[in-house]
């Protein structure tokens, strides 16, 4: 401040000097006007010369500052008074006021500060008379003392004397006691209304209207126990060190207290002693110990006691907290009264725990009986066998196993085939054809619909038809083909078997190419020259060709019409719907499923885990990622798909024998088989279990039987020659509709790959010779090489599978645990309906298979409701219109861009996705995009369907709000509606 002042001064002097060469920095203070001066306004930062500076006290009075109050400068330039020194005050005569003179008290010579100090030092104490709290006790103590003195003197007269003195002498009871006396209280009585005595005492007293004063019972001060010692344990008594510690601490605290008080200028003898010499300007609140004697003994804190706060709160915090408490105290309770002393009203409501009713014990419950039973079972525990124990525990009895039980089926089959050479087969029933080649149900159906060969031999044709019908399951009640057929008339057993082979081949050849392809072609006129003995090849001359567009369309229309006319398959849903329509809610409309809440959810809901042994990685929650999304091709989805397919196609994977035609058929060899026709790539345990689980129970039963049969009745020697191939072919029934195994492989890759690789490596180490020996000379055809390789691989795997002990047959024949987990639910399909259901699906061919990979199509009918949202509300937000519409435009653009990109990407991504699904830990974003892809694709398809369920915009005219403003709404509503349409068309992940 002074610097600026100097500058200013300088500048003024210089201007006075008349030289203009100086430079002025900054803005000068405004000159003090006359008005300011009058009002006493001064700039606090203004330069004031030293002699004009004044020291003023807190009240604004001019104050002497000097050595006496601890200042470092005093008087006039650190002299006294004024320039002249002491100025004597002018003489005032007191002669006229002589009468007023009186003895002067020390207070007369004190200034305000001194008086203040005295006032502070004074302590307001109740006089003896009014000292309610201490008075009585003091009196009692005095009386007691007197009594003791009397006893010490030992004389009755003395005692009499004192008591007489007491009686004569004036009492100095407190006002309270006197008041109580006036109310009728006498010393020795308790305080309170007089009570009527208990009935028992009435006879003693003789009267019942006598009232008695309450007993003088001491008020017990119940202190809550805050420490953790035992009852009655006194720490200080038992550990004298602690007592010492406490004493020291109290001493310390006393000192600290004093110091503290001194620091706050409360009691001031100490200030003079201790703080003399400090400047008056020094901040009193400064906690720095100037004298540096930190005498705190930290050792004491080691024995910190509960009842003594570790750090005494400073006076200031104390006052603050006390005011806070007092303000709290003032809040009344619910009933309007203040809370009891020492209590404060909590601002947090008391929470009561949840109370559950105790379980009701049924009347007929007899715990005794239960105990007896327990005893009965518990007693002979030691001499029970494991089976008995197992039965009690409800375990499945362990079947005695042989080594062969641990061999996988495929290997067993091979073993059987090999053994057939050595083992006597037993007699073959010559009247019946058994072990003839089979074809799949679907193939049989296709063949039935296709061209019928053997036109030259009508009997044979009839037999062929019969064979196909049998294979299609039309002959038997349960839809399963018969495995034994009587030898047809006029043929020997051998001829019959040969014919069966022929039939199977024919069925393979004369099937319609595929539903799609056959639709494109007209049927060719076929001439067959079948000589049953020499050649099995049918000569087909293709004279047909591509259908014309019109023809194809016509047929398509017809087909569609047929399908439309056909009654929709009666599903369980419609059952429910029927019941609901008939208002028969209840059993029919209710489905109960298991629900597996996660561990944490149970914890949060405060319930026990209802399925403690449920493994969340399996079952219904399987295939779900962290984010909760389900993979499009998750295991359970796949499972479902396969199940659907198996019911639709009537596939039977465990057919005893399926001939592999392309082996010895040159024409077929020339044709590159479909991926599904190729030998099965190494199947995994997972796949096996799936396929087995997907089988309907009846088929599993049959397959079990056939398996047994196969074991008992070995097949013909001619077929045994290439047993390795057969086994693979038997495992993989030729089913051309099945999607390529590569897909499955890709899906289950990560779960099996590692194992497989490991195992393969292991295999290479252990039995390279073995694989070499099994490798046979291969034909040149490429796909056969491929096939061989696959077979070898499979064999390897077969061998590997010997290793881990698989449970016998159970693993393949019983259902998977996931399927098991579903509780039994009665179905309401009548047999007729069921058959119609299967009939419907028989026709369905590739469409069914491909379906799961398609995005949600006709099933994506999304019902959509809106809470909704009309345009009018937006009127009120007219201001935002422009930006909103901008947004919408941008959105639209972005969407278009994305759509383009997606379309390009789509084909790639679709495949990639499938393959990468497992490996890439598939961020949810990607999946999200994938969904969008699909949605965009399906959008067009769905538009019609969804039209019904597009979210509607209400056309609510809000008359009341139009006054606010108008406009805006239309663009927004349009945009939103378009969004809705879009979103409604979007399929859901669960449907993928």
């Amino acid at each position: 401040m002074s610097r600026y002042g100097d500058n200013k001064q300088q500048s003024t002097t210089e201007t006075k000097g008349g030289s203009d060469s100086h430079i002025v920095f900054g803005t000068p203070f405004p000159e003090q006007t006359e008005r300011d001066r009058r009002q006493g306004l001064t700039d606090s930062g203004q330069f004031v010369p030293t002699w004009k500076q004044e020291v003023r006290d807190e009240k604004g009075r001019r104050r002497f500052h000097g050595a006496f109050t601890g200042g470092f400068s005093a008087g006039y330039y650190n002299t006294v008074g004024s320039k002249e020194g002491w100025t004597p005050s002018s003489f005032v005569s007191s002669r006229s006021a002589r009468t007023d003179q009186h003895a002067s008290r020390p207070e007369d010579f004190m200034d305000e500060e001194d008086l203040q100090e005295i006032a502070n030092a004074r302590k307001l104490v109740a006089t003896d008379e009014f000292d309610v709290l201490g008075g009585t006790e003091r009196e009692m103590a005095a009386r007691k003392r007197q009594q003791q003195e009397d006893e010490a003197r030992g004389s009755g007269i003395g005692f009499l004397g004192t008591s007489l003195m007491d009686m004569v002498g004036p009492t100095n009871d407190s006002v309270g006691i006197r008041l109580l006396r006036k109310l009728g209280w006498k010393p020795g009585q308790g305080i309170g209304p007089r009570k009527k005595i208990h009935v028992d005492y009435v006879e003693i007293v003789g009267r019942d209207d006598v009232t008695f004063a309450p007993r003088d019972t001491p008020i017990v001060d119940f202190k809550s126990k805050t420490n953790s010692f035992g009852l009655g344990y006194e720490l200080e008594k038992h550990v004298p060190q602690v007592a010492e510690m406490r004493r020291l601490r109290q001493l310390q605290q006393g000192e600290d207290d004093e110091e503290e008080r001194a620091a706050f200028g409360m009691e001031n003898n100490i200030i003079n002693k201790k703080r003399f010499g400090l400047s008056a300007f020094e901040d009193d609140e400064d906690d720095v110990d100037v004298y540096g004697n930190d005498r705190r003994d930290y050792h004491h804190t080691l024995y910190d006691l509960d009842d003594q706060p570790q750090q005494r709160p400073s006076k200031r915090t104390k006052t603050v907290s006390s005011t806070y408490e007092s303000s709290k105290k003032k809040t009344p309770c619910n009933d309007g009264r203040l809370p009891l002393k020492g209590f404060i009203l909590s601002d947090q409501p008391q929470e009561l725990g949840e109370w559950y009713q105790p379980p009701q014990v049924p009347d007929d419950y007899n715990e005794h009986q239960h105990l007896e039973q327990q005893h009965a079972t518990a007693e002979p525990r030691y001499n029970m066998s494991s089976e008995e124990r197992g039965i009690i525990l409800g375990e499945k009895p362990i079947e005695p196993r042989s080594v062969f039980d641990y061999i996988p089926d495929k290997s067993k089959d091979r073993l059987d085939n090999v053994l057939k050479f050595f083992v006597d087969k037993g007699p073959i029933d010559p009247t019946k054809l058994t072990d003839f080649p089979t074809i799949s149900k679907q193939q049989a159906n296709m063949a039935l619909r296709g061209y019928m060969p053997f036109g030259d031999n009508l009997k044979k044709q009839a037999r062929y038809r019969h064979y196909l019908e049998n294979q299609a399951g039309l002959k038997t009640q349960d839809g399963e083909p018969m495995t034994t057929i009587p030898v047809p008339e006029g043929l020997t057993h051998e001829q019959g078997m040969k014919e069966m082979d022929e039939f199977a081949k024919a069925a393979r050849i004369f099937r319609p190419i595929s539903a799609m392809m056959s639709g494109r072609f007209t049927s060719a006129s076929t001439t067959t020259t079948a000589s049953s003995s020499s050649s099995t090849i049918e000569h087909t001359s293709f004279e047909g060709g591509l259908k014309t567009e019109a023809q194809w369309r016509k047929e398509k229309e017809l087909r569609e019409k047929e399908e439309a006319e056909k009654p929709k398959p009666v599903t369980e849903k419609s059952q429910e719907a029927q019941a609901a329509a008939m208002k028969m809610f209840g059993q029919l409309t209710r489905t109960v499923k298991p629900f597996y809440p996660s561990k944490l959810v149970c914890k949060r809901f405060n319930v026990r885990n209802p399925h403690p042994d449920h493994d969340p990685s399996k079952g219904s929650t399987g295939g779900r990622t962290q984010a909760g999304s389900r993979d499009a091709l998750s295991e359970d989805k796949m499972d479902e798909m396969l199940r659907y397919q198996s019911t639709a196609g009537g596939r039977n994977t465990n057919k005893p024998k399926a001939i592999d035609l392309w082996k010895d058929d040159p024409t077929l060899n020339a044709v590159i088989p479909k991926p599904s026709d190729r030998p099965k790539p190494p199947s995994t345990a997972a796949m096996e279990s799936i396929s087995s689980s997907t089988l309907p129970p009846s088929s599993t039963l049959v397959s079990k039987q056939t398996l047994e049969q196969q074991q008992q009745q070995p097949s013909l020697p001619q077929q045994e020659s290439d047993d390795t191939k057969k086994s693979s072919a038997a495992e993989e029934p030729s089913d051309y509709e099945r999607p390529s195994m590569d897909i499955f492989k890709a899906i289950f890759e990560n779960s099996d790959d590692d194992e497989e690789e490991e195992e393969e490596e292991e295999e290479k180490e252990h039995k390279p010779a073995n694989t070499e020996s099994q490798r046979q000379p291969l034909p040149n055809s490429q796909q056969q090489q491929q096939q061989k390789r696959d077979q070898v691989k499979q064999e390897e795997e077969d061998d590997q599978l010997i290793g881990p002990p698989l449970p016998p047959e159970l693993s393949t024949l019983t259902n998977k645990s996931g399927v098991d987990a579903e509780p039994f639910r009665p179905k309401f399909n009548r047999p007729a309906e069921r058959s119609s259901l299967t009939a419907e699906f028989k026709i369905a061919s590739e469409r069914v298979v491909v379906e799961p990979f398609k995005p949600r199509s006709h099933t994506s009918k999304r019902r959509h409701i809106s809470v909704s949202d009309d345009e009018d509300e937006d009127e009120e937000q007219k201001g935002k219109k422009t930006e909103e519409s901008d947004d919408s435009e941008e959105d639209e653009k972005r969407r278009q861009r994305r759509r383009k990109k997606d379309k390009k990407r789509h084909k790639k991504t679709h495949k990639k996705e499938k393959r990468k699904k497992e490996k890439s830990s598939s961020s949810s974003r990607k999946r999200h995009r994938h969904r969008h892809d699909d949605s965009d694709d399906s959008e067009e398809d769905n538009e019609l369907n969804n039209a019904v369920w597009v979210e509607k915009e209400t056309n609510v005219k809000k008359k009341s709000t139009t006054s606010h403003s108008s406009g805006r709404s239309h663009s927004y509503s349009d945009e939103s509606s378009s969004k809705k349409t879009k979103s409604s068309a979007r399929p859901r992940a669960s449907d993928l």
């Binding site: 409501p349 719907a577 809610f585 629900f595 409701i865 937006d874 937000q877 979103s983 669960s990």
Partner: protein, 296 residues
Amino acid sequence: MVAYPTHCDQSLKGHKGPISQVCYNKSGQYCLSGGRDRTVRLWNPATGMEVHSYNGHGRDVLGVSVSPDNGRLASCGADRAVILWDVGTGAILRRYTAHWERVNDVDFNEQGTVLVSGSFDATIRIWDCRSSNFSPIQVLEDCKDTIMSIQVKDVEIIAGSTDGKVRTYDLRNGKLAEDYIGPPITSARLSNDGNCILVSTLDDTVRLMDKANGTLLNEFKGHKHNEFKVESVMSNTDAYAISGSENGQIYIWDVLEGTTVKTLQSQDTIVTSIDYHPSDVAMVTAGNDGVVRVWS
């Protein structure tokens, strides 16, 4: 003295646009509404005062809920977020954004430890309010279509879905009961005794279903409800069933008789949401006109 609300006491104006849901707090002292204007508003229905407006949603608010200790709020909306609010400060405590689509309804469990939300993406997600885990602790994917309403009571989660099924998840028994109703469900609420579920469907019908075995106890008709999300509720004595209507009326049925005992004309447009006072004869309704009405 009739046992159902008959006249409109207060009109709480403040929302700019339709209101999607309204509910009382647990004591019935305040009510909460969320609407198209992206705000959640807390009202004092007795005085008609707007206590606070909670801003933070990016798009329409579709569902609101109050925690059992009245200390927190939850709201969900078309911005696919579920937001947990602190009532006093209005601060956002948590924002859960794992849903793929608009979230239609949200509810607290009775301990206030968990939020359950149902969405257009056909999943019910359970969120943990205790830990700082922002991903759902469980995802229920049983529903085949949009979930329109969620209610958590005791250890049960009631979900009404557009696939026409009411799903009751019983956590204690680990069972899921699916009750097929048929038409899309817009609201499924437990009665106060917890034994029945009141189901509003898009065929102009409100049904009272028995929770234990899924049988139909009664059917209430007369109102118009075939397009929009309209809620229905039982009175706190379970004596009356109350539903909004698309013609702006409020229908009150006798639960036992199934007859309409009263229709109240509320407004010209749809009455979407209703909540009944937990102890008094009072209710709040809200609809497309953006006004919360308090009835008694």
